[in-house]
């Protein structure tokens, strides 16, 4: 199993541009998550999904959108990039609610200038 894969690894955007961060897992996990990691701030939940067709907001959803059309894929969309969205983005998945650990992708480092 490849686990959780994310593309791209790095990206530089200009203010106002849009992009999609891709996330795919091959473990047949129902639960998927998007986090952002800022220095000294830990991880903040952006959006999550409990299954195909179901998504919900996390702590910091503003400026982002998600969709979940399949179990495997959970893309994160930035519509109008702002410097405040400069961060490292991690996708994660887990099999069951609560007691199971989350599996993380390698991350996407995004810079908005």
């Amino acid at each position: 199993n490849a686990g959780v894969t994310q593309t791209p690894k790095f990206r530089i955007l200009k203010i106002g541009q849009s992009m999609t961060l891709q996330c795919t897992q091959d473990m047949n996990h129902n639960y998927m998550y998007w986090y952002r990691q800022d220095p000294g701030m830990g991880l903040k939940l952006i959006y999550y999904s409990v299954g195909a067709g179901i998504t919900d907001k996390g702590e910091v959803p503003n400026g982002y959108n998600v969709s979940r059309s399949t179990t495997e894929d959970f893309p994160l969309r930035l519509e109008l990039a702002a410097p405040s969205q400069t961060s490292v983005y991690f996708c994660a998945s887990t099999a069951r609610s609560g007691r199971d650990e989350q599996y993380f992708g390698p991350g996407t480092r995004l810079t908005v200038t």
Binding site: V4, G42, L43, F90, T94, S97, R99, E101, F104, G107
Partner: protein, 115 residues
């Protein structure tokens, strides 16, 4: 509301010495508790978790953690540190009373093991 505190931004320890990375939490009811490690330019990797049962939990790479309900703590420990243990460590908590699977992460503690 759920919260996690990691009071130390950095912990320094000499190789071969025991290490402790501290974590305290606040949730309603009994918690699920997790430790993750992050190496440079990598995603988080699961180390260990407390769900129920024995308060001393053993995990990967020789790490262990002790759940202390009265002190609402879940400190990460290792009897003998290695230079290769140097990384960023995150504690995370989820309360059982919540219907959704959202982990709350601490801000992380950087462990530096010196030769």
């Amino acid at each position: 509301a759920q919260s996690v505190a990691q009071p130390e931004d950095q912990v320094n320890v000499a190789e071969g010495n025991p290490l402790t990375v501290k974590c305290t939490y606040s949730v309603s009811g009994n918690p699920y508790l997790f430790w993750y490690v992050q190496y440079p330019n990598r995603g988080l990797q699961f180390l260990l978790k407390y769900i129920t049962g024995d308060n001393l939990v053993k995990g990967s790479y020789g790490f262990e953690a002790e759940f202390n309900k009265s002190q609402t703590s879940f400190h990460l420990k290792k009897p003998s540190a290695l230079v290769s243990d140097s990384a960023l460590y995150f504690c995370a908590v989820r309360g059982r009373s919540y219907n959704t699977d959202k982990l709350i992460f601490g801000t992380g503690t950087r462990l530096q093991v010196f030769p």
